[in-house]
């Protein structure tokens, strides 16, 4: 949680909110990659696509 708070403060200070969509996409991709490595969840992820 501390990380997301710092990230938000960083974007606000730097006035770089336009990076937010890019960051969200990257984080979602990361979550997807992590989830697909879990054997129990992988079949459900694959059916989504």
């Amino acid at each position: 949680m501390e990380f997301f708070k710092e990230l938000f403060l960083f974007l606000r200070t730097r006035k770089k909110f336009w990076l937010l969509p890019l960051l969200i996409m990257l984080l979602l991709l990361t979550v997807l990659v992590v989830l697909t490595t879990v054997p129990a969840l992988a079949p459900f992820i694959y059916t989504l696509f």
Binding site: E2, F3, E6, L7, F10, R14, K16, L19, L22, L23, L26, L27, T30, V33
Partner: protein
């Protein structure tokens, strides 16, 4: 209560740790020296263990930890750069981003985790603690000074000046690639900065790459190769013109604009667009380890000259902006001793001081100093009336080893050693051996911090011997024969040999030999790079480069008493007040750290004698040595 700050640099190249207590530098060391992996970029756990042990404190006693750059700002630069150049750079993006998302972006968490791990190990070693005492590092604040602020702090705070202009130049930090700052009292103010991708360091690295050397470590080779180029050659002049017209636009204030169509470091995994460079320069990229042609030498010289132009122009701007008479420098480009001497010649500053650990390792020290003086707002303590001595303690900030520890290594390998209790006698003996043409591995007291061996982890030899340069390069260091060696000269005798006023204790200025001491060279001197080495160019040919220059280290009696005595004894015997000083390592390995490293390097090379503390080991007598592991030579 004492303010103890741990500085860390890591995860890019040359990770290191440093500790300061109440503003005094207690210890600093690079991780590579402990792990034996050159330019090791991993978390510096061994270096941290060492600096805390040297300081005699535990994790719980730390006031703060300082990391040498701002990861979020660096990530911002990466994202914006990839966004700007997309779809170019996809491969590089896919390589870099997972590491960032997985580790580097959450640097604070990563640092806390690593420190907790070390703390836990420490606690296990010292017995269990109460729950309250555990995990104290969780509460220690972690500061993230900007990369170039860390460099600036490493240059200014240990310098002997109360006020100074600060110039930091390297490849890239977060966005900045070079900054001009002003240091006054305990404050450092960033005045101007040059931003990525316009980078002097990366431009130099691009040429390092194009000339077939390794980026981030081969830059010294480019600098060493440059004097072999012919400054009068039309090819050199043409190369320089092409660099200035097509590759880089240098503005009057020293700022530069790179023509990015020629470079690939932003979007690719290489430095240059090889095809465009070949078309522009008329020579293809040199393959690593292949023959060095006159064109390669001339190109190296042209690039070196361009670098000097930029550095001098930046220094003039720094002087104009700050109005200071003192200049301090750090960042990888500050290790370019030839450019540094041009700064002295330019005369825009009365005094110049350069951080000996100017590269990223020194960032650990700078981060700790920035945290102490800027974040904790603690005043600077000047040593004597400025400009007095600097605070680097001759850069001898690494570990020292006891007589017992050295003896243990000697016994472990069943080595034959003689213990000479009186150092004066040992020094006299070693100077006789040096005068007789022997090569000595010299291991004494605390290890140096930074890329140079300054007389405590050094290979020493007689500079009067014309064959010595090629002999040490080929037989001992297993590296290119053209690479020059530096002399360590008694401070009081330096002016008699070299055109330089003032001390140069850290080998950071390449200075010319006095004209009266230069021997004439044959007419066909510039024909062959290696044949040239056979022509004695001065009374000290092994340390006189082909252009009559030398990267000198002045040795003072107060800062370096043992080393000074050795050179002094050598002078008494031969009349020559200097020695060849090259780092004590084998090819591809870091400089030796422990007695074991020194002994193994001695056994794996053709060094004639090894001196560790007061022990003298002769190669010819090591017939009973056992269990020496095989040495793998790595390209450096």
């Amino acid at each position: 209560m004492a303010i103890c700050i741990l500085g860390i640099s890591a995860f890019y190249h040359d990770s290191a740790a440093a500790i300061i207590i109440d503003g005094k530098i207690i210890a600093a060391a690079q991780e590579e020296r402990f792990t034996r992996i050159k330019h090791d970029a991993s978390f510096p756990e061994n270096a941290i263990r060492y600096v805390l042990q040297e300081a005699g404190i535990t994790y719980g006693q730390l006031t703060a930890v300082a990391f040498y750059d701002k990861p979020l700002l660096k990530f911002e630069r990466l994202l914006e750069t990839y966004h700007a150049f997309a779809p170019a750079g996809l491969l590089s993006f896919l390589t870099a981003i997972p590491v960032w998302l997985h580790e580097k972006l959450q640097m604070k968490k990563l640092l806390r985790r690593q420190l907790r791990k070390l703390e836990k190990e420490d606690d296990l070693g010292k017995g269990a603690k109460t729950k309250k005492e555990n995990n104290k590092t969780n509460k220690v604040p972690i500061y993230f000074p900007e990369h170039h602020l860390s460099h600036a702090a490493s240059a200014f705070y240990p310098s002997p000046f109360e006020e100074a202009a600060i110039l930091t130049i390297d490849g890239v930090g977060e966005w900045a690639t070079a900054t001009i700052c002003h240091g006054q009292g305990n404050q450092v103010k960033i005045m101007q900065e040059l931003r990525f991708p316009n980078s002097i360091g990366l431009l130099y690295s691009a040429f390092t790459y194009y000339l077939g050397f390794k980026v981030n470590s081969g830059e010294y080779k480019l600098m060493g190769l440059a004097p072999y180029g012919d400054p009068q050659s039309p090819e050199t002049i043409l190369f320089k013109e092409k660099i200035l017209s097509a590759l880089v636009d240098i503005r009057e204030d020293g700022s530069i604009l790179l023509n990015m169509s020629y470079f690939r470091f932003v979007t690719g995994l290489r430095m240059t667009n090889d095809k465009k460079w070949a078309t522009l320069l008329g020579i293809p990229r040199r393959q690593p380890e292949s023959a060095i042609t006159p064109s390669h030498r001339n190109l190296a010289l042209a690039m070196q000259q361009v670098t000097e132009m930029i550095v001098v122009a930046l220094a003039r701007t720094a002087q104009r902006i700050t109005g200071s008479k003192n200049l301090v420098m750090a960042g990888g480009v500050a290790l370019n001793g030839v450019a540094n001497y041009q700064l002295l010649l330019a005369g825009c500053f009365d005094n110049i001081w350069i951080q000996p650990a100017a590269g990223d390792a020194g960032g650990a020290l700078g981060a700790a100093l920035a945290a102490y003086h800027i974040a904790e707002q603690m005043p600077r303590i000047m040593r004597g009336q400025p400009p007095g001595p600097d605070a680097m303690q001759a850069a001898l900030l690494g570990p020292a080893y006891t007589r017992q520890q050295i003896a243990t290594v000697i016994h472990r390998y069943n080595a034959t050693a003689e213990y000479v209790a009186d150092f004066s006698m040992l020094s006299a003996r070693v100077s006789e051996l040096l005068a007789a043409g022997k090569v000595i591995g010299w291991f004494q007291d605390r290890m140096e911090f930074g890329p140079r061996a300054l007389g405590n982890r050094s290979i020493l030899a007689d500079p009067r011997n014309p064959c010595m340069q090629q002999y040490i390069n080929l037989q001992i260091k297993a590296r290119e024969a053209f690479r020059p060696f530096a002399p360590s000269v008694l401070e009081e005798d330096a002016a008699a040999y070299f055109d330089m006023q003032g001390p140069s204790p850290y080998m950071l200025f390449v200075t010319p030999l006095k004209a009266a001491l230069r021997f004439p060279v044959p007419e066909n001197y510039r024909q062959n790079i290696y044949e040239r080495l056979n022509d004695p160019r001065s009374p000290v040919p092994a340390v006189t480069h082909v252009d009559y220059s030398a990267r000198i280290q002045t040795v003072s009696k107060t800062a370096h008493p043992k080393y000074w005595q050795l050179i002094h004894d050598f002078k008494a015997l031969t009349g020559c007040p200097m020695l060849i000083n090259t780092s004590f390592n084998v090819r591809g390995a870091p400089i030796v750290c422990s007695p074991e490293d020194a002994f193994l390097a001695f056994m794996h090379t053709a060094i004639d004698y090894l001196v560790m503390g007061n022990y003298l080991l002769e190669r010819a007598k090591q017939t009973a040595v056992q269990n020496i592991p095989a040495q793998e030579y790595m390209p450096d």
